[in-house]
């Protein structure tokens, strides 16, 4: 079946159509901060400015904070009130390939062992419409991390910029079904497909930051106790939560209660292994020192996640590099991990 295409001018109409069936999310900017937000029904100016969001799309599925449940204390004791069923079906428009891959990585955690009903109910009913990058950032290194600026692997539909139009690649059954029900699309020609191919190559070559991850799992394992290396690596980090909270593959959360009079709420909210209190226990803290926390972050992504799920939990989106207040650069760190033979015990 031949691919379809949609004119850039017609994107508003397309989103409008999809809005009938879905809660549509698209890139939006507030006070200069780009995030995925519910589409306002008109604005498609993001097509001009959008490179990637500051807040990753994971925030739609694992929000910075959410209510797990509410409870009341009455004469008969406590009553636990489950959260209302999530009825929204969400369509996220403009997901970048790196962030789509990150969603697949997050799925592994939320699906394994016991399923997480909150995350998965949103995730399973959602459609991801990918938008290929034409202008990768200096900090992007997706092509070293198993994806690329136009990779369609982890989305339902993929849009490739071919000038005045986007070529639509139908990736999953869900995506195909949506396209079948969508009107106003044009058929793509051979020429369009050639253009798309060209666009992919161009975009690929624009990602100039490279990272060699060969053998990284073993290098990290061998360097685990190399305190000198980790102290040096951690020296300038200020232990904030930027590189973890805003990393599209980080999922750590905290759980807290709040009660006013006889009514209460249990929340979960983003948390970070960079914070000293994260592992604080009554008698001691296994990660009191900063270098241990930095080590956890690096090892979790590049050693532990691969051990458990066989995939590095970093997609090269570059957010942690762009947003870090001290320019701590994960690619420099990974490159500087000593090779097995050099590692000290």
């Amino acid at each position: 079946m031949a691919d379809k295409k949609v004119g850039k001018k017609d994107i508003a109409g397309l989103l409008e159509q999809w809005s009938q069936q879905f809660a549509v999310f698209a890139p939006s900017k507030e006070s200069g901060v780009a995030a995925m937000a519910e589409w306002d029904g008109k604005d498609i100016s993001f097509l001009d400015w959008y490179r990637n969001t500051v807040v990753p799309p994971k925030a739609i599925f694992l929000p910075p904070m959410e209510e797990l449940f509410r409870f009341q204390k009455g004469k008969e004791g406590y009553n636990i009130e489950p959260p209302p069923k999530d009825k929204h079906k969400r369509l996220i428009f403009g997901v970048r390939p790196c962030d789509a891959r990150a969603m697949a990585i997050l799925d592994m955690t939320f699906e394994q062992a016991l399923e997480d009903p909150y995350y998965l109910s949103r995730r399973k009913s959602a459609i991801l419409v990918g938008l290929g990058c034409t202008n990768p950032c200096e900090s992007c290194f997706c092509t070293s991390m198993g994806t690329s600026p136009t990779d369609q692997t982890n989305v339902d539909l993929m849009l490739i910029d071919i000038g005045d139009d986007f070529l639509i690649e139908e990736v999953t059954a869900k995506g195909k079904e949506l396209i079948a029900k969508t009107s106003g699309l044009k058929g793509a020609t051979k020429e369009d497909e050639a253009k798309a191919k060209q666009a992919k190559e161009t975009a690929y070559n624009k990602v100039t930051r490279k990272l060699d991850t060969e053998g990284i799992k073993d290098r990290l394992l061998a360097s685990f106790d190399d305190e000198e290396f980790w102290e040096k690596t951690a020296a300038k980090c200020i232990s904030c939560g930027i590189c973890t909270l805003l990393c599209p593959t980080c999922y750590c959360f905290d759980i807290n209660d709040e009660m006013v009079k006889q009514e209460g709420t249990r929340f979960r909210s983003w948390d970070s292994c960079g914070f000293p209190n994260y592992t604080k226990m009554p008698m001691e803290n296994p990660r009191q020192e900063k270098w241990r926390r930095v080590r956890q972050k690096v090892c979790h992504k590049y050693e532990f996640y691969p051990m458990t799920f066989n995939v590095i939990a970093c997609t090269g989106c570059g957010r942690c590099i762009r947003l870090c207040p001290v320019n701590w650069d994960i690619t420099q760190v990974i490159e500087s991990v000593p090779a097995r033979t050099e590692a000290k015990k």
């Binding site: 797990l68 204390k73 062992a113 997480d116 009903p117 685990f224 948390d271 296994p286």
Partner: protein
């Protein structure tokens, strides 16, 4: 058994994050800082059907204050009620301390793996505990004693800082009386009335010197005790595979999602809390 085998029928309202309501039936003051809570579910059906295994833990809530992690300290072989023991150290444990008999608490669980009870059969068992760390061991010890003939020699080495800090004194007495058990109690610092041993657990363990052949050592206590007990056992000839422990890390979700309880690639809640020393020795020196 892993967390994936958790009986989903025990989820409150089908949601793993929702607690069941349980009622405190009895409170035992163990030491000035530790209390044992006897409790039972409010729900009739769950009360009958709930099962667990020694070594498993649960997330207990004082609703409005928060959740904390405690192992189930009673034995699955004695099912008229459940027990946990909590040491007062912070927010939730202080709030628990303010509760009395009849108060309602939240309960999510049971979570985690358990002691591999089948593989302990026909073995000599060496239990090594410190302080509140006896809680999970106690569940297993009673479990084993209720089927005494399936196991061989049983040694229990238990210690606390002072005689006043010894938990479960009624159990210690019962095991001391039990002729089939070699019970050794020790304290770091004795007092006038103290007639037992004086010395830290790893040292006393070396004195007791249980034989390593056909044996499994089960260790639980404060991290510092655990760190010194493994080398002591190694000296006695125990192999890393023969040493079991249950680890304690800060926990929130209890089901392998929130991230914080990891040791290396293992999550204590998902892959533990029971581990063999062989599994964790790469990380134990620097992460625990």
């Amino acid at each position: 058994m892993t967390v994936a085998d958790t009986n989903q029928e025990f989820f409150a309202q089908g949601n793993v994050y929702l607690p069941h309501i349980a009622v405190i039936e009895k409170i035992v003051e163990e030491t000035p800082g530790v209390r044992t809570y006897h409790f039972n579910f409010k729900d009739e059906k769950l009360r009958k059907e709930f099962t667990f295994q020694s070594g498993q833990f649960a997330q207990y809530s004082v609703l409005g204050t928060g959740e904390a992690t405690f192992c189930i300290s009673s034995s699955p072989t004695r099912r008229d009620h459940l027990e946990f023991a909590a040491q007062r150290v912070g927010k939730v444990t202080n709030a628990l301390n303010r509760l009395g008999v009849g108060a309602e608490i939240g309960f999510r669980g049971p979570y985690g793996n358990s002691f591999p009870i089948d593989s302990l059969k026909d073995k000599n068992l060496v239990f090594v505990g410190g302080g509140i760390g006896l809680a999970p061991l106690r569940s297993l010890i009673w479990n084993v004693l209720d089927y005494r003939d399936k196991y061989k020699k049983i040694d229990i080495v238990y210690g606390a800082r002072t005689p006043a800090d010894l938990c479960f004194k009624y159990d210690l007495e019962a095991w001391d009386k039990d002729k089939t058990v070699n019970m050794v109690t020790t304290v770091d610092r004795g007092d006038d009335g103290w007639k037992g041993k004086v010395g830290v657990v790893p040292k006393i363990l070396e004195e007791v010197a249980p034989s390593a052949g056909e044996s499994v050592a089960i260790v639980c206590g404060p991290p510092i005790m655990i760190r010194f007990t493994f080398p002591a056992l190694e000296k006695l000839g125990f192999k890393p595979e023969q040493m079991l422990t249950t680890l304690e890390k800060r926990m929130k979700c209890g089901i392998g999602k929130c991230g914080r309880c990891n040791i290396g690639n293992l999550y204590v809640c998902r892959d533990g809390p029971v581990f063999s020393y062989a599994q964790i020795k790469d990380f134990v020196s620097s992460e625990y």
